[in-house]
């Protein structure tokens, strides 16, 4: 059956539509996890097992999209008061502006700010549509490069990105737009379409601020072209260099255009430096990190950035690298494919085309990024898949291979079917593994956030929380209150070193009698949220202050041991 479908001619429209719908269905199943659900009386019925959002930034992104819809973000302007102790508090610039605007229609189901169920389903639908679009763009880029039966290669994205890609794909995040723009830019650069590149760079800048990635892709192409020589383009090396410099200028102009079109243009560069220089620097080790930090301070992009404080911060788990068998398991296909493909080509005396080699160069760059930091399998997956697809296509189309295939058509047809089945099988296993996991559950502090939402007294008050990664949920359930910091602790450090120092002292349970008064004084907090299993020191101190009347316990969740304390008047 697969065999016949491989050879059957299809219209591009139908094929593209199938890729889109099939991905939509698969991601939709992943988001909803249909299966047997246990009811309160113990009976089991067929239903949707996944009714919450996955751990991570999804709640923040969908809530922000809702606030764009209601105009609250516009009203706040550059003062993102929800993160009162971060650089966003006065210099807000939405680094994923277009992504949030994309999500806004998915919030239309929500009647009011408290209708979080509708927002959850909206986010799930938004994720499914985004990934269907990503798969479609990948398919379209392959077709743009002349790959036949491009749909066969689409599951390679997951095979190459592995389990990390699957887990990152479960969240509502802006990176798929970055991948879409990168893939499109790669095709546009190959076709030397300057105006298109400018537009892609501008869209990239507006959707996902790390637009410098386009510069890296350009660098790989340029170096590759200079190394490999002009090939069949008929250009001299000098002319080719000029052509590439023009492309670079287009990227730069696109970025400038994107920044100019951005409502937060005044603070864009500063935010970019903090998010894409300081945060990556914090993942570095040793003197290199100190050098980057000192440079940032010297350029006046942050008030102060002491390396000692930066080293204490615990960044998101996504920045940790995969190690050992986990790396082999997740990145095995991506690491092995360049070698296997190169040796296969050498074995058959096939020299791939320049474009194939350039794509492999980009794939190797993303692979290095992914080895350094696990999250980058999100970009390594699509680029390794692109390079592999181009390579396989190139190999199949080579004269020597065509001759061999003509000599032994049955064997090669079987091999094609086998390879196709292998890719789909691995994809199926990875997809099913993701489906089989426990569905996401509400976080322990959800009920505390709902209490804040339901309590009119808490409106517009500042809630201190000692864990920056509780912010997305707090913001999602109770956007009527303001919080300290979210998304990344570097935003707090770049805002105020002293606040950051106190914050991390509390996180590491270095709590004394002055801690709570300092929270009040420095953060202007009205409430303190304590998650006792995480903040044991703060919990103990708050209990002591409650016993002497300095604090009042406003809310208690005995099951998860979460409490909200209010400062006594």
């Amino acid at each position: 059956m697969i065999e016949s479908s491989l050879d059957r001619p299809k219209s591009a429209f139908r094929e593209g539509l199938l890729v889109f719908l099939f991905t939509l269905l698969l991601v939709g199943l992943h988001q909803t996890q249909p299966g047997m659900v246990e009811r309160e009386d113990g009976s089991r019925v067929f239903g949707l097992r996944s009714r919450s959002l996955h751990l991570g930034d999804s709640p923040y992104n969908i809530r922000l999209a809702y606030l764009y819809r209601t105009g609250d973000v516009a009203k706040a302007g550059s003062h993102f008061h929800w993160m009162s102790s971060s650089i966003w508090a006065d210099n807000f610039c939405d680094k994923e502006l277009l992504y949030h605007l994309y999500l806004a229609p998915f919030t239309l189901g929500a009647r009011d700010a408290g209708d979080t169920s509708a927002l959850i389903w909206g986010a799930k639908l938004g994720i499914a549509v985004m990934f269907a679009f990503l798969a479609w763009v990948f398919w379209a880029v392959l077709r743009g490069f002349g790959v036949k039966q491009a749909w066969c290669y689409v599951p390679l994205i997951v095979v190459m990105g592995g389990a990390v890609f699957m887990s990152r794909a479960a969240e509502a995040r802006a990176w798929p737009i970055g991948v879409i723009c990168s893939l499109t830019a790669w095709l546009v650069m190959a076709r030397n379409r300057r105006l298109d590149l400018l537009l892609v760079a501008a869209i990239y800048t507006l959707s996902y601020a790390p637009v410098h990635f386009l510069g890296l892709l350009w660098l790989v192409r340029t170096l590759g072209c200079l190394l490999l020589g002009p090939g069949q383009t008929g250009l001299s090396r000098g002319a080719e260099l000029r052509r590439h410099l023009t492309l670079l200028a287009m990227i730069a102009l696109g970025v400038v255009l994107g920044v100019l079109l951005h409502p937060g243009r005044a603070d864009f560069i500063r935010l970019w430096v903090v998010a894409y220089v300081m945060i990556p620097a914090a993942t570095l080790q040793g003197p290199l990190r100190d050098l980057v930090f000192n440079l940032v301070v010297a350029l006046n992009f942050a008030t102060e950035f002491p390396p000692g404080e930066a080293k204490r911060m615990k960044l998101g788990l996504e920045f940790l690298p995969q190690a050992g068998t986990a790396l082999l398991f997740v990145g095995g296909a991506a690491m092995l494919s360049p070698i296997v493909l190169a040796v296969t080509s050498a074995w058959h005396r096939h020299k791939p085309r320049r474009e194939t080699l350039l794509a492999m160069g980009a794939a190797l760059m993303t692979l290095v990024m992914a080895i350094n930091s696990g999250r980058f399998f999100e970009i390594a997956g699509p680029f390794c898949a692109l390079a592999s697809a181009l390579w396989v296509q190139d190999l199949i189309q080579s004269r020597r291979m065509q001759l061999r295939m003509a000599l032994r058509p049955v064997l090669f047809r079987r091999l094609r079917v086998l390879a196709c089945a292998g890719v789909f099988a691995v994809f199926g296993v990875l997809w099913a593994t993701g489906l089989d996991r426990y569905p996401p559950m509400p976080r322990p502090w959800r009920d505390a956030a709902i209490w804040l939402r339901e309590n009119p007294q808490a409106r517009d008050k500042i809630v201190f929380h000692a864990n920056w990664d509780t912010f997305p949920d707090l913001f999602f359930y109770a956007p009527h209150c303001d919080y300290i910091v979210g998304m990344d602790p570097t935003f707090l450090l770049a805002h105020d070193v002293e606040k950051s120092r106190l914050y991390w002292d509390i996180a590491f349970d270095k709590v004394d009698a002055t801690t709570v008064p300092r929270i009040r004084e420095m953060f202007k907090a009205d409430y303190i949220l304590v998650v006792a299993p995480i903040n044991a020191g703060l919990d103990q101190e708050c209990r002591r202050l409650e016993s002497i009347g300095t604090l009042r316990r406003a809310y208690t969740d005995p099951i998860f041991n979460v409490a909200i304390y209010e400062f006594a008047p």
């Binding site: 389990a163 993942t283 570095l284 080790q285 940790l320 690298p321 995969q322 190690a323 050992g324 068998t325 986990a326 790396l327 082999l328 398991f329 092995l336 360049p338 070698i339 190169a342 040796v343 080509s345 050498a346 074995w347 058959h348 005396r349 096939h350 020299k351 791939p352 190797l364 290095v368 080895i371 350094n372 930091s373 593994t433």
Partner: protein, 577 residues
């Protein structure tokens, strides 16, 4: 690449002399390099503050080195033979009743290096002996790689032998400093690779037997045989043979390896318990280093075939293995394995771009290189295989590339440029090797003995303790204790799995102590379960146990026998009523 068969015969006397000179050069250089690593000559600050030229490394490196040289000494004095299968020095391990020396020939190899020791307490002579043995071992390893490269028809094998250091990276240099048996298994593997390439089955059988006696992980030969077999089947039969003939030949090679493994076991004095020790060391410990879904999968396979019936997976997960089993990750991995990655990608891409079709032997060597890199990614200790195997791969591939007719023709047309390029490549390899070795040396300073030294010396010099049992919660304290005070018995060493295989209760209690889950009953449980006479406490590592021992001392159940004020380590004696 030349046919290995061809390279054996027809050498002229001049070539033979250059071969010997090359081998000698490799041996002497490797010996000298390791000698520098072992002694660290440099400026030493004397007690009066002045600096003078001296050796900065009078002590053994931390790790298993003290254990190996001590056991070699005990082989020499006949103590091991007397102990038989009861390795009483590790009473709370499965070695106590079912001892099988998994590195038998290595310890016998070390024995002559202990001849300088005047008696059991002459640890200074044993230290020097271990260092000299290490220099020999490292030189032998380099020589063996040189021999394997030459046997595979690689010209200038000395240059590729230097790549051992570059490709193994900093982890390889660090591991080469220790006295361990791994260089011998690497040597055996290299020899087996050549024997398989030449289809010398008897040699393969003998190598497999020697491997088993040097290092019990004889199954590793089957893994590399599997790689050769797989690539042979994918690449198709060699010219002049059929697939069936090749399959038969491969099957016979596999049988030779299994036969050699069996021969090794039969020749081993501990043959009765060999398979049991093999199972614990190479199945259970191996499972402990896997992570994620692969771990779960391997665990279920092993349980499915009934290999873990006496073994609890939950208990095993509590064990903390040695640092050597940890993997490198992130930018550390990119730096440490960077040269290996660069060679894998660089060589295969170069062949493809120059339309060079690699020979079957080259592709098989690539398979070996890939296996070694995957092992290294999984666990950094496998730099020990990544260095030599990647060097072998590079040698075979580059030779193959240079001998390709169109490449050779191109090179002869531009002889001057080719020569300059060869010089530049050789200089790059040698400079990189020197830089890597210097980097490894820069971080070393073995001026101080093991922190356990004073405690162990007290045990040694105190006749009351001889023949008694000391409880220690940290398995990696054993080598130093055993080295300085072999008159005393301990709980476990080398790997915590050995205790779990012996007694689940003992293992869980020790894990509790290491997790600081200590209560008022802990000391009594230690005494009851381990029947120990002393408890060694390292307050910095197990504060809970220290507190419990202090309370037991107040209660009169323990007596503080010794305190090392430098390290705060203490020995509590159990008061018997």
């Amino acid at each position: 690449m030349t046919d290995p068969e061809q390279s054996r015969g027809g050498t002229t006397p001049a070539k033979s002399r250059s071969w010997i000179a090359g081998a000698l050069l490799v041996f002497v250089c490797a010996f000298a390099l390791q000698g520098v690593m072992q002694t660290l000559p440099g400026l030493v600050t004397t007690e009066d503050g002045s600096s003078e030229w001296g050796l900065r490394s009078p002590e053994l490196p931390h790790g298993d080195t003290p254990y190996h040289i001590r056991i070699a000494y005990l082989y020499r004095t006949g103590e091991i033979a007397r102990a038989g299968s009861d390795f009483h020095w590790m009473r709370a391990s499965h070695w106590s009743g079912r001892f099988v020396d998994k590195e038998l020939l290595y310890h016998i190899y070390l024995t002559p290096f202990t001849l300088g020791a005047s008696d059991i307490n002459d640890t200074a002579a044993l230290t020097i002996g271990a260092k000299v043995a290490n220099c020999f071992t490292f030189a032998l390893l380099a020589l063996c790689l040189f021999g394997a490269l030459r046997a595979m028809g690689v010209r200038r094998p000395w240059l590729f032998s230097a790549m051992l250091i570059v490709l193994g990276g900093i982890s390889f240099c660090t591991r080469s400093e220790e006295s361990r048996a791994w260089p011998f298994y690497v040597m055996c593997t290299l020899a087996a690779w050549v024997a398989m390439a030449r289809n010398q089955r008897l040699a393969l059988l003998l190598v497999a037997a020697a491997f088993t006696l040097f290092y019990a992980a004889g199954h590793f030969l089957l893994v590399i045989w599997g790689i050769r077999a797989l690539i042979s089947l994918i690449a198709g039969p060699q010219e002049g043979t059929t697939r069936l003939v090749e399959l038969r030949s491969l099957a016979l090679q596999g049988a030779a390896i299994v036969g050699g493994f069996a021969l090794g076991i039969v020749m081993h004095p501990g043959r009765a318990d060999f398979l049991y020790t093999w199972l614990i060391t190479y199945v259970h410990v191996f499972l402990g280093i896997l992570k994620g879904p692969l771990h779960d999968f391997a665990q279920s396979v092993v349980s499915g075939i009934g290999l873990t019936s006496s073994y609890s997976a939950e208990d095993a997960e509590r064990l903390t293995l040695g640092i050597e089993f940890q993997p490198f990750a992130g930018s550390n991995l990119l730096i440490a394995a960077g040269p290996a990655f660069a060679c894998l990608f660089g060589l295969s891409f170069t062949s493809m771009l120059w339309r060079h079709r690699p020979s079957r032997e080259s592709v098989m060597a690539l398979g070996l290189g890939l296996l070694s890199v995957a092992m290294y990614i999984n666990s950094m200790r496998f730099a020990e295989v990544m260095g030599p195997f990647m060097a072998l791969f590079c040698g075979i591939w580059v030779e193959d590339f240079l001998r390709a007719r169109h490449i050779a023709r191109g090179l002869s047309r531009r002889a001057g440029l080719a020569r300059k390029f060869a010089f530049a490549a050789a200089a790059l390899v040698l400079i990189s090797a020197a830089a890597m070795w210097s980097w490894a040396l820069a971080g070393k300073d073995n001026r101080k003995p093991s922190p356990l030294n004073a405690t162990a010396l007290w045990l040694r010099d105190n006749p009351r303790t001889h023949g008694k049992m000391v409880y220690h919660a940290h398995f990696d304290a054993f080598p130093a204790l055993f080295f300085y005070a072999p008159q005393v018995d301990y709980t476990v060493g080398m790997d915590p799995h050995y205790m779990l295989a012996h007694s689940r209760d003992q293992s869980n209690l020790t894990c509790d102590i290491l997790d600081n889950n200590v209560d008022a009953q802990t000391v009594e449980r230690i005494v009851a379960l381990f029947d120990c006479d002393y408890i060694l406490v390292i307050p910095a590592m197990s504060p809970g146990l220290f507190q419990a021992c202090q309370e037991a001392e107040k209660a009169g159940r323990l007596k503080l026998a010794f305190v090392d004020h430098k390290t705060d380590m203490g020995l509590f004696e159990v008061v018997r009523k």
